[in-house]
Structure formats: structure tokens, C-alpha cells
């Protein structure tokens, strides 16, 4: 498989502190990769480097064979690199219907139109409703986001990402803060993601990681210390030492 997303030797320093050191990560369409690591491992910095919110000191980010290292965040989104947020970022006064319509129109370059309502665009309305139904929130289409439950807001966050038809999707702790009762639906939605989409999930919840990922990448102190199968990750000595040790202990106690 050819890589659709290829991070090569990425390096970032803040002052004298190396926060991302020679990180390389390659993904093919359909990949399901989980990025894990203890607090302070540099996961957030890595996400910001990949999405273009901060620029690296060295290394490159390739998307569909194109070098996007020097491009800003919006340019990368338009090329198919889409992220979701760890804490939902939605428009509280707008409805889910408006959210997905805006995302679809944005994708198609029609969001600057001034003399038509999205409601008068049957193609946008159909696609939007299909997307909301797929995530099981179509019945909330006309409610204000501030009035719907957090679990459903997380689903809408996913719907927004999907409406942009990404090639590479970065999920930043998609189940964070969601009550237990709703996590199953979010996991289902993640399992149902398009099969040709490359998904990189940053996650703390190891149960979710093991159910989702075909491949696990472990980041510690700014470096990738493991890149392999979920089975192998628990047996890896360095990973145990850096990260899973404390987790395994906690688990055996519980």
C-alpha cells in the first residue's frame, strides 16, 4: 500500500527543550492506528505539528504525496487532513443540521454564497441528514447544540469531521468526558468509519485502543519507542517501563 500520510523525521524544540524528536509515522488508506503515551509524552505537540498549528524545526509532513509541511491548518484541512477535538468545539447556538450543512458547503467551496439558504439546497440537506442518521442523531437535527447531551455532541463532532470527506482523520480522545452509557455508540460510530479512511486516534482509554487499533504507536519523551501490533505492545519492555507499567499495576489492583 502506498502511504497517504507520511510524517518523516519530525523535530520540534521549544527553547532548549526537545518535545518532538525525530518522529516518523506512515499510514496507508484504511489504517487504524492508535497513538498512546504517558502525559507529557508530546502527543499534543505532535497533533499540532501534523495539523499545522505549529511549524517543525526539521522534518516533513506528506499528505497524498504532497509536501504540506509549510502549509497552514486550513490548507491541510482542504487537502483532506481533518481532526476532531479532545474537548468538543461546536457552535452552541447552531443546530446539528446547520453544522453539517456548513461543513458540506465548506468542503465544496460554497460556504461564501450570499443569496441562498442551505435549506433550499436539496443535495446539502440530503447529505447532511444521511450523515446525522448514520450517527443516530438525526432526531436532534433542529435542536440547538447547547441543548443536546455531551455524548451526542461528540457524535456531532464526528459527523462534522466526516462531512469534510477526509482522507486522513485525527481523532483526539473521541470518547473523553462521555458518560459510560454513551461510549458504546461512539465506539460503534468509530467502528463504522469508512474503510478507505486512514484514522489516527490519540487515546488514553486502553480498552478502546485495543478494540480499535490494528497498530499501536507509543510516544514517550518526544520519541516513538514502539510501533507495532496491539498484542506486541503489552509485551514490549520499553513500553511497559515508560507507560504500561503503571497501567498494568493499576489494572491488577482493580
Amino acid at each position: 500500500m502506498t502511504a497517504i500520510f507520511d510524517v518523516r523525521n519530525l523535530k520540534k524544540t521549544f527553547g532548549g527543550l526537545v518535545v518532538t524528536n525525530d518522529v516518523s509515522l506512515s499510514m496507508a488508506p484504511g489504517d487504524r492506528v492508535a497513538l498512546i503515551g504517558p502525559n507529557g509524552a508530546g502527543k499534543t505537540t505532535f497533533v499540532n505539528l501534523v495539523t499545522g498549528n505549529i511549524l517543525p524545526n526539521a522534518g516533513s509532513v506528506m499528505l497524498c504525496g504532497e509536501d504540506v509541511t509549510r502549509l497552514g491548518p486550513t490548507q491541510r484541512v482542504r487537502r483532506g487532513l481533518v481532526r476532531s477535538f479532545q474537548v468538543t468545539r461546536l457552535f452552541p447556538e447552531m443546530t446539528p443540521e446547520e453544522h453539517v450543512a456548513l461543513a458540506i458547503l465548506q468542503r465544496e467551496g460554497r460556504s461564501g454564497r450570499m443569496f441562498a439558504s442551505h435549506r433550499a439546497m436539496p443535495d446539502v440537506m440530503q447529505e447532511g441528514h444521511a450523515l446525522l442518521s448514520r450517527l443516530g442523531i438525526a432526531h436532534l437535527a433542529r435542536h440547538r447544540v447547547s441543548e443536546i447531551a455531551y455524548g451526542q455532541q461528540r457524535l456531532l463532532e464526528l459527523a462534522l469531521a466526516l462531512a469534510l470527506k477526509p482522507k486522513v482523520l485525527l481523532l483526539d480522545e473521541p470518547a473523553a468526558g462521555v458518560p459510560q452509557s454513551d461510549t458504546a455508540r461512539i465506539e460503534q460510530a468509530i467502528a463504522d468509519l469508512p474503510s478507505d479512511l486512514a484514522v489516527l486516534m490519540i487515546e488514553h482509554d486502553m480498552d478502546l485502543v485495543f478494540r480499535f487499533a490494528k497498530r499501536v504507536v507509543v510516544l514517550a519523551a518526544g520519541e516513538i519507542i514502539f510501533d507495532g501490533s496491539p498484542d506486541a505492545v503489552t509485551k514490549d519492555a520499553r513500553v511497559r517501563q515508560a507507560y504500561l507499567g503503571s497501567y498494568a499495576d493499576a489494572r491488577s489492583v482493580a
Binding site: 486550513t74 481533518v82 456548513l102 441528514h129
Partner: protein
């Protein structure tokens, strides 16, 4: 596929929204006609209210819809006023439609310039930049007295008849009707724009610009576009003021007017366009009544009214009414 009921609800929605806008237009029209017959000696004041309403609508576009804090919005209004006035006084462009067009273009350019400057910053620095702009514009107009008449104001504006048919008369009837028609046209256009995908994008930017960027949307470009539209609307208001009063003074380019426009917008309620209209009407009408009734303490009374509104109806007159009815509508569907 869209099912039959969905299609119905889409067209039903559209009808509901069109009905609401039609009601809005009818209310403006009815108030306009009532004003014409009830206050025939006060048409100049009513025309001024109309011109200021355009300024406040324009402010609502950037503040209410985009969340940009500005206390320098009269710069756009003043640009339109001086643009139209200079065209008439120095270049002999006396056709009111042409003067209006010049005002709109001047306002748009002022909108572009102040948008580019003001949008460099956020929050309090943004507010300070906007204040700097209005002071600079005021000072520039004061110094360029050869063009603007400086502190004496620019007189000698003699607009021709509208379409060669309706002369501007001593009682201000033509100017008044001209203003009301202009307001209705602008209002209908703006309702379209705020409902459009572009308007939705602006509302999104106000609520979470980071999310808009994560969708691939351009925050700065969108806001600058809205600033230009806002400038066009304020410029139209300024031109109307120039045409109707036939003199333009530095007060149309003042910090006071900018601040008052903001007060009117907050009084009526932001982000609906209706609030801007109601706020302007309420503020200027109240100011007129109170200043006539009590010339010594009227500012105190206006201040007390504002405090009352902000405390008891923080969403403004229209915003509070609208949310009251929305609340009631939900209780008794």
C-alpha cells in the same frame, strides 16, 4: 433520498421564514406610513432615524453576527456621508441615486480599510484600534477642510429630483420616502445574507473561530468580506444623511456617534437585524421626547433607561421579547 415529509418541511420552513421577513418589511412599511401622517412636521427627525438605523444595522453585521468589538463604526457612515457630499459639492454629481452609489462605494472602501486594521487584533486591543480609527478619520476630515469644510461642515449639496420626478422639498417628504424605501431594500438584502451559507459562516466564526479553521474555513477573509458589506450599508446611511440634510459635519464621523450606535444595538439586541432597528427607533425617539420634556436632565434619564435595559433585558428589547415568546411557545406548543 429525501422523503416526502422532509421535502414538505423544507418548503414549509422556507415559507415560515419568508413570512417572517414579509412581516418585518410590512412593519417597517406600516411604521413608515404612520410616521409620514402622524408626524408631518418631524420628518427630518424620522429620516435621521432611518439613516442611523442603517448605521446600526451595519454595526450589527460585524458585532452581532461576527463578534467583532468596535467603537469606530461611524467611520464607515462618515465616509459614505462625505463621499456623497464631496461628489455633489465638488464634482457636481447631484443625482441622488448616483450620490447614494458614491456613498456606498466610499463606505465599502472605509469598511475594507478599517476591517483590515481592526481585525489584526482581538478583544480589548481590537476595541482600542477601532477607537483609534474613528479619531484618525475625524482628524483627517477636520484637516482636509478644502474638501470637507472642516469644522464648519460641508454645505452646498443640492440633490436633483429622484428619477427626475420627485424634488427634495422643504418638509423633507421626498427625503423621508427615499429613506424608507432604501431601508426596506437594505433590510431585505441583509436578511438574505445573514441566512445564507456566508451568514452561517460568520455566525460560526463568532461562536468558535478555531472550529471554522478546522473545517477549512477562512476566518480573516470572511470577516473582511463582512466588513466591506457592513461598510456599504453604513455608507448608504451616510449618503442618505447627506442627501436629506444637505450638509455634512464632523459629527457624522465622531466617536460619539460610534458609541451611540453601539448603545442602540445593545438596547435593541444583537444578531437579529430586527434588534438594530428597534434599538435605533427606541433610543432616538426616547432621546427626542425626553430632551424636549426635560432639557436639563434628559441625559440622566437616558442613562437610567440603558441601565434598566441592560440589567433586566440583557439580550436587548427585541432579543428578550423573542426569547420570551420562544420559551412560551415551547411550553404551549
Amino acid at each position: 433520498m429525501l422523503s416526502g415529509s422532509d421535502t414538505l418541511s423544507v418548503t414549509g420552513d422556507r415559507r415560515a421564514r419568508l413570512t417572517r421577513d414579509a412581516i418585518g418589511v410590512l412593519v417597517i412599511l406600516a411604521l413608515g406610513i404612520a410616521g409620514y401622517f402622524l408626524f408631518p412636521n418631524n420628518l427630518a427627525l424620522l429620516t435621521r432615524i432611518t439613516a442611523i438605523a442603517l448605521l446600526v444595522l451595519s454595526l450589527d453585521l460585524v458585532t452581532g453576527y461576527c463578534g467583532v468589538a468596535t467603537l469606530g463604526h461611524a467611520a464607515l457612515f462618515g465616509a459614505g456621508a462625505y463621499g456623497a457630499a464631496i461628489a455633489a459639492a465638488h464634482f457636481g454629481i447631484a443625482d441622488p441615486i448616483a450620490m447614494l452609489a458614491v456613498g456606498i462605494i466610499a463606505g465599502s472602501i472605509a469598511g475594507l480599510v478599517s476591517g483590515v486594521v481592526v481585525l489584526r487584533a482581538h478583544g480589548l486591543p481590537q476595541l482600542v484600534l477601532s477607537i483609534a480609527i474613528i479619531h484618525l478619520a475625524h482628524e483627517a476630515a477636520n484637516k482636509a477642510s478644502g474638501w470637507t469644510g472642516g469644522s464648519d461642515g460641508l454645505a452646498g449639496i443640492m440633490p436633483d429630483a429622484v428619477f427626475g420626478l420627485w424634488q427634495f422639498d422643504l418638509w423633507g417628504r421626498t427625503a423621508y420616502v427615499f429613506g424608507i424605501v432604501l431601508l426596506i431594500v437594505v433590510f431585505v438584502l441583509l436578511r438574505q445574507i445573514v441566512r445564507s451559507p456566508f451568514g452561517m459562516l460568520c455566525r460560526g466564526i463568532r461562536q468558535d473561530p478555531v472550529r471554522i479553521r478546522a473545517m477549512g474555513g477562512s476566518v480573516h477573509g470572511t470577516l473582511v468580506r463582512m466588513y466591506i458589506i457592513s461598510g456599504a450599508v453604513a455608507g448608504a446611511g451616510g449618503a442618505l444623511n447627506a442627501i436629506s440634510t444637505q450638509v455634512v459635519g464632523l459629527d457624522s464621523l465622531s466617536f460619539t456617534l460610534s458609541a451611540e450606535a453601539m448603545v442602540m444595538l445593545v438596547l435593541g439586541g444583537t444578531g437579529s437585524l430586527y434588534g438594530a432597528l428597534i434599538g435605533t427607533l427606541a433610543f432616538l425617539w426616547f432621546e427626542d421626547v425626553v430632551s424636549a420634556a426635560n432639557p436639563f436632565h434628559w441625559l440622566t434619564i437616558v442613562g437610567a433607561l440603558l441601565i434598566a435595559v441592560v440589567l433586566f433585558a440583557p439580550k436587548g428589547l427585541y432579543g428578550s421579547l423573542a426569547s420570551y415568546f420562544e420559551h412560551r411557545g415551547r411550553k404551549n406548543p
